[in-house]
């Protein structure tokens, strides 16, 4: 192989990769582009099949967004999501931080298996558990309230975050704690005073993912909640805004976009850690 053909081949590969990236970005991001353009179009423009749908055939409008915030419960749903999110984050941290640390520091053949077993409970889907839960929630008297979600959501955030935090604590050298313990701290003291302060990044990751999981959840929300004022955003938009024969496409697309993009931006910052959690030790 001459240097010239080698260079030509490298260039061809580079161009090929570039084309693949463009293709997939267009394919994957298209629905969000479509939400964006729909959210700002006037109804007259939107509902005229003669118009080119990719363009603004009439000047853009803020009408749909005004309708969304003024005439629907969208703000309430956002607030509900935040309320549930904050409480679930608190419960998750209280349970998952100590558990993750114990799993990271335990020795013996069972530690790893126990960790995986806890992670696997994250994979038990809501679609297996939602029917018994609907009755449990009714018997506890919290049906149709946000408290039902606060109670049930940790059932998947705790396993996930325990696993995530276990991985994180394993990266913190034991020597740090050993030194602290020689200086007279107990194991628990070393954990609270030495390990916790340098683990804020890991804990922040757990917070972000708990919040993301809460925002994404749909099945339990649609099962437990029946009054529209108690919906979270991922349940409210598809069930309430579609109900009836009139679809408010402009407002719906605006709602989807507003609820999706901020989470995606934050999530993107932490995605590597998330992947590390998902690859179950298959990558070393």
């Amino acid at each position: 192989m001459t240097p010239a053909t080698a260079r030509a081949r490298r260039l061809a590969t580079r161009a090929g990769y570039g084309a693949i990236r463009v293709f997939f970005v267009v394919l994957l991001a298209f629905p969000f582009y479509w939400m964006l353009i729909t959210a700002f179009k006037t109804n007259k423009d939107l509902y005229n099949t003669a118009n080119n749908p990719y363009l603004f055939n009439a000047p853009p409008t803020l009408e749909h967004i005004i309708v969304l915030f003024r005439d629907t419960l969208f703000l309430q749903w956002l607030a509900n999501t935040a309320f549930v999110g904050v409480l679930v984050v608190a419960i998750t941290l209280v349970l998952a931080v100590p558990a993750g640390y114990a799993l990271a520091r335990m020795t013996g053949p069972w530690a790893q298996t126990l960790g995986v077993a806890i992670f696997l409970t994250y994979l038990v889907p809501p679609t297996i558990l939602f029917i018994p839960f609907s009755r449990i929630v009714a018997q506890l008297g919290v049906q149709d309230t946000l408290w039902s979600l606060v109670l049930v959501y940790p059932s998947f955030t705790v396993p996930f975050c325990t696993w995530l935090l276990m991985g994180f604590f394993k990266t913190i050298p034991r020597d740090l704690e050993d030194a602290a313990m020689i200086d007279g701290l107990s194991r628990l003291g070393a954990f609270l005073k030495v390990v916790m302060p340098i683990s804020l990044a890991g804990i922040l990751t757990a917070v972000i993912f708990t919040f993301t999981l809460v925002t994404q959840e749909f099945v339990y929300g649609v099962t437990f909640i029946t009054s529209s004022s108690s919906y979270t955003v991922s349940v409210g938009v598809p069930t309430f805004l579609v109900r009836g024969d009139v679809y408010f496409w402009g407002s719906m697309m605006a709602a989807c976009l507003i609820a999706s993009v901020p989470i995606a931006l934050i999530y993107n910052l932490f995605v590597d850690r998330f992947v590390a959690g998902f690859t179950v030790g298959a990558v070393k």
Partner: protein, 308 residues
């Protein structure tokens, strides 16, 4: 916060936190208890409901043996749902693995705008799927579908052709598969990407020196090395697609005439909307075998990772 042990009573109180054999269980117990109560108990209840006559309205529950399962297996909708679930999962996950491998390869190395590209690619996975599906509902709209408009504009559709994406069984299933592929590709891509970046550069260099071309390099070196991680991506994809009801719920509600019903959505419509808790529980249990198989494979993986 934590007073240092100062002998006497304090010593005795804090000696327990130095005893790791008691400390670890104490730190694990709350999490395990919560999980047992909120995953274990409902699961057992679900088994119990499936052999009972529980309904939303009535408080009394009686044991009815395998009656619910007999009812389910005799119903045509069940076989249709099972077939749809398997079809949607197999086809979508095959496409996901192909697409994700290609895309992951194209994302290795440095290029301009990497951050933005990654953000845009991850959007379908991060955005709540119920909202993403709403976006697709609009794209598949019977009158204003942008797909149809574009196809007609470039001459793929004749003047009298106008497919109703969600109104015809085959097209509706295709639509559901498209949305599932769209949703899982980002996850599979980032997982496989992690595998690709863990291959030492030496191996690639050695192949280069030996004169391996692109295809040989891929199929004899890169491909086999990322096999395990591709399997991990596949397992997650299977779980998330097989047990999902959201895409079907938002796009078709199982219609037209239950032809796009999947196990999970049918369990919802039977158990929650229909009030037949026992029937719904029995239906949803058909999701369990796949879940169990995936769990076993994961445990084997973890064992292997521990040994190496």
């Amino acid at each position: 916060m934590i007073a240092l042990p100062a002998g006497g009573k304090g010593r005795a109180r804090w000696s327990f936190v130095d005893n790791e054999r008691r400390l670890w269980p104490a730190m694990l117990a709350p999490a395990i208890l919560y999980i047992a109560l909120l995953v274990g108990v409902p699961f057992v209840l679900s088994l119990f409901y499936s052999v009972s006559n529980a309904t939303v309205g009535s408080r009394s529950i009686q044991f009815v043996g395998l009656e619910n399962f007999r009812r389910i297996v005799e119903s045509g909708t069940f076989w249709l749902s099972l077939k749809n679930t398997v079809l949607i999962t197999v086809v979508s996950q095959f496409l996901v693995i192909v697409c994700a491998n290609i895309l992951a390869l194209a994302l290795t190395g440095e290029f301009r705008g990497k951050w933005l590209v990654r953000f845009l690619i991850l959007l379908p996975w991060v955005a709540p799927i119920s909202l993403g599906s709403i976006g697709w509902l609009w794209i598949f709209d019977s009158i204003y579908s942008v797909i149809n408009w574009t196809a007609r504009a470039v001459g793929l559709l004749g003047p009298h052709e106008w497919p109703i994406w969600l109104g015809e069984p085959t097209l509706a299933k295709t639509s559901i598969i498209i949305v599932n592929v769209w949703r899982i590709v980002p996850l599979a891509t980032v997982i496989i990407l992690a595998g690709l970046s863990s291959i030492p550069q030496d191996i690639h260099d050695a192949a280069q020196v030996d004169g391996a071309g692109f295809w040989r390099h891929y199929f004899e070196i890169t491909g086999p090395l990322i096999m395990p991680i591709t399997l991990v991506a596949l397992l997650f994809g299977i779980i998330f697609t097989f047990t999902d009801m959201i895409v079907v719920f938002v796009l078709t509600r199982g219609g037209p005439y239950d032809t796009t019903q999947v196990i999970a959505s049918w369990a919802y419509f039977t158990g929650i909307q229909g009030g037949d808790l026992a029937g719904g529980a029995a239906i949803s249990l058909f999701l369990f075998p796949v879940l169990a198989i995936v769990a076993v494979v994961f445990l084997l993986f973890a064992k292997r990772a521990e040994v190496t």
